[in-house]
Symmetry: D2
Subunit: 368 residues, 4 copies
């Protein structure tokens, strides 16, 4: 079955040109199967998710797809098209500096009141009503009298569409990075289906990203219902996948990650075909144990620690080269950490200011 | 009396070059007089505060200054030196997009516990101990094991010095703007000394800026002491002055604003000379009534509403010109608001994306 | 008569989105009347030309237009939409740094050979053949085997269309600027029709801008023909108008400049209506006497000299404020020139590196 | 023997902060041995040359160095410190867009006149006088009445120092690149000493880069002297080495390239130690055969051709992925060339506008 294409308007450039995101869709064949929403490239330089969506479409077209599938590659046209020098300035709005991935709406619903009013509904109807509430809350925000920012319009337009799905996957990458993913604590078993070796287990709260914006209100509802003696479960799943490094397209590797997503979709019954997850060791750590190491001094950086490989306490993470200090003790300084870790990503450039976020490392890892 | 000059290190560039801020200081002649900390140009394009500090120094050198005065012009060397095209890209860290003015430390102190432990101290000793706590909290943050970001190092280094003063003034400007200032609710009477016609009355909470970072922990302490039956008052004052438009140096106008600051310092006894505040109407509005109006569509913008002048409901704020829509109803669209207001500032550029923050306007103004 | 709208493709963004320029056209009613090509906003921040084209269209629709009129507002969509901070980064390709206005094609024709082959043609046929040669040369460049740069594609696509016209006007602005225009030496009398007080008289050579790209090959042909004893004249006119400052839309002032253009078009018989040029003093200087003054030191800048007003030798052009040098002889330094001049434009920002182009001034002016 | 450190002022930032380049020097022990000038990092992101200078210093300190050695790492502090997003915006002046490497002075000397006046001098004196002329010409330019641009000040200050040396090496890198170097035609034998597999043989004319700025006036002199019957030779050598990719520090690889430079310096007698050049195949091509291939359409790019490896006619250079065109013939387009080549470098980002310079390839290679 072939995907249909449509287009979602998310903004307008100064010339009046519309910013549109291509939307590819397969309709549901079985309304009881979960629906899926996958977007890619909300950060402009993080392009590999587009290749994964491409490979996913090629696969899905040959499979027996039960649930509705909605795919939005190239989800942030303004961010993708914003070059600065030879690279894509894609992490933040060039005017305001606001991270494109921190503009999703925190609904801040009064869940208790809403639940009291709707507690009489059966589970299915309750979920439907709540979903409608979330979508309407997005729409109301977009139509506010004083307008919304460029980034908010993009994010909440995407979010509004994502709220309609049962499974939401947001495809990102790190700067220079090994593959890892974000998974909410309540849903940690799902991490074993994707072709991703490292998982960050995040709290069930709103932190600003798409996955959190999507699952957090559902977790709040489930949590409140539970406090009222009703077990509702969290009917929505949402993940962020970090597909290695930015500024990289690799079609073969994209196929691997498409297979991992299909393994999860197969497990969930979105596709009736059986797709087995890749056999691989998978490790997790809690978000609080995911540490940012900032450059203690400025300089040129030789990145030494291999991403995704264990690094012992005291082993060299990186060298800082200071040509202005040649002949002193500080001409070449190895940096190391005071605890064992697995370096997950490092800064993209080989020269840094003091304070630049040099590495992100997982500590206190456990096997999933 | 002449100012002494020293230098404050706030970071390092990639080449190893130190980022230093010049510090000008007059020592206290009377330790019972309040001490003052004034900084300028934390946002790189907002240069007029430097001219005000220049004029202030020229004036203070001829006056009888009782309290210690510490002045930091050019407070953000990285931001000031970061050009992009013909303008200064000065609002945010060029790497991360984080607003330079949102990096100050929220101490998140457990005020109740601290107060219980120190309630036996007399007011003066209590204040001294609390001040020390704030400064040590800044230092601890700067020395954290995992390092701090470039922006955090700058902001918290400045904040640490500001905490030592009784009066803190942060000199900013708007993009294209009339003069206005931010003043906490508990200290609103102070607004009548400055040469500034419009005042935003802000809550006593932490919102991220220097003034809030400085007064908020003191207000929390005073508030808690009050709840325990002790009237301590808020011993520290902090304001942000917005000295009209960015990318503008006007030495004569700087003298006006220096006079306004001197009128306040005279009132507070920092200088024993009498300096009368300027006779002028002054208006205020609450922060919740300070509205951001976002461009409903993209286009070229003719800014029509005069800044600092009342605009009636329905009057034209700006025209949006759309050459791509010539010959249609949308070729030239006047924008207006549904309530009376005073436009305070507008966007710096004459072309906008959909969603660009076009104007900020005060509504529900009252005379101060 | 109403303008028809079409669209000219000039490139593609990374998402695949086409870059299109709106093209407005009135057909010729009299093929013997000159045809006109006017473009605006090739530099992204120089938006006022769009307003002038808007006013020009409103006027022309009520007039008796004989010659074909082709108008391209928003001529550089990539440049217009490229923001960096609160301003438009519009002077150069963000990837390569190449000035958008220096990408036009220098045909480097062997005029002598071509003339020998075509000397038998009558004037009208000769001109037609030469025009075709120029357009074909543009097309060949665009279709070269190894491709062309983004900027070259834009510029040469516009140039190819401009070569078809007899009158070409390129609408720009300065950074902070009074109105002035560029006019080739052979055509200096034309400057008296526009509503522009200052004219730079440029040599008849190729210098890289649109006007030069258009008239230079025609002047070469006329020059060579003259050397062969045939007086052909330069059948094409081309001008660059600098409509005051960038980042500014002023609809009323746009009407003034539209009137000036109409006065010229009336004089040339493009419109049969009589439009008198504005009565105003007009001054010129040769390009070699148009001087760039670079900041001798870095610092904050108070621009003092009024643009468009005579400045005597030794009078203050600008003050350089150096807060890092407070208390020294260099804290506030007035800058002046060693000859009389009229300052035409100055840098857009109020802080400069050493060497920033601070002012451009005309010297050795003469009345036109 | 230890290097001495001094510092060269090349400009001032807006805050007044000086831009200084560290200068490391070993004095001559034998004035008849050639003197050497090596600079690195004129393009801000091209950092590996600093590591090579570091390794070179470590080696030279243990060797018998005859000629004066002057080393300038971190040669463009403004360019190195200019970040935009996670990368260094280092190729051009952020204000003007001018490539930092195209600001060197073209002396445009009247060599014939100068030679006539100085023809009576012996070779050594003639060379000394000419060298002085070049240095004075640089100084005069720097001191011009109207000032010079920021980039010109940097470049000509460096050039003035380079003119004093007999051997000048400028250390650069490509974006994503294999190692290659630029060598003037008259000096092509020298290419066999460096550890660099690919050499671009450039004409003896001025093209704007440091190497050309240095050797071109000497070649002009030698050429003119030859025309007058005097064989002077070109007494100065200048090369640009491209040390693989930008944004990369690799200390081990830097040692390899330091060895290559030492092999050349040994050959020239700068060091008396014998250092043999690396045994490796070396290939060259003429600059006219070094082709830039521009993206024929926009899109995401999978770079397929390996850098430094032969690519046959018709083999895939890169794939262009177009998610907006999924389901059409253009969803994934392989790009190939119509002739055999060796791809030397490709664009740094994985998404491109139409016209982006995608690859540079050598054609018509020959063994050196």
């Amino acid at each position: 079955m072939k995907f249909t294409q449509s287009s979602l308007k998310v903004g307008e450039l100064a010339t009046g040109q519309e910013l549109n995101v291509p939307v590819y869709r397969l309709p549901a064949q079985d309304l009881s199967a979960p629906s899926v929403f996958i977007q890619a490239n909300v950060h402009g330089a993080e392009v590999q998710g587009n290749a994964v969506i491409f490979q996913l479409m090629k696969q899905l077209e040959t499979m027996d797809v039960k649930g509705e599938v909605t795919l939005l590659p190239l989800a942030n046209p303004l961010g993708i098209n914003q070059k600065s020098g030879e690279f894509t300035l894609g992490r933040f709005d060039p005017i305001t500096g606001v991270n494109w991935n921190r503009e999703y709406l925190d609904h801040k619903l009064d869940v208790a009141s809403w639940y009291q009013e709707n507690a009489h509904l059966e589970d299915k109807a309750l979920i439907k009503a709540y979903r409608l509430l979330l979508i309407e809350s997005c729409q109301a925000h977009l139509n506010s009298e004083w307008g919304v920012t460029t980034g908010k319009r993009l994010a909440v337009t995407l979010q509004s569409m994502a709220h309609a799905a049962d499974i939401v996957i947001d495809l990102h990458t790190g700067p220079k990075s090994c593959k890892h993913m974000y998974c909410p604590e309540y849903d940690v078993d799902s991490a074993s289906y994707f072709s991703i070796p490292f998982t960050l287990v995040i709290p069930n709260d709103f932190g600003g990203a798409m996955d959190e914006a999507v699952f957090c209100p559902w977790w709040q509802l489930a949590d409140y219902a539970q406090s009222q003696g009703r077990t509702l479960g969290v009917p929505v799943s949402a993940f962020t996948l970090e597909l290695a490094s930015q500024e990289r397209i690799d079609m073969d590797d994209a196929l691997n990650d498409a297979q991992g997503i299909l393994a999860y979709l197969s497990h969930r019954g979105v596709v009736s075909d059986k797709v087995a997850p890749a056999q691989m060791p998978r490790y997790g750590c809690y978000l609080k144990d995911y540490k940012k190491f900032h450059a203690p001094t400025a300089g040129m950086v030789e990145y030494k620690a291999e991403l995704g490989e264990p690094l012992q306490t005291g082993e060299t993470l990186a060298n800082i080269l200071r040509l202005d200090l040649y002949g002193t003790d500080n001409e070449l300084t190895p940096l190391s950490l005071k605890q064992d870790c697995v370096p997950i990503l490092h800064f993209a450039s080989a020269s840094v200011y003091q304070g630049t976020e040099l590495y992100k490392v997982m500590t206190n890892l456990f096997e999933l």
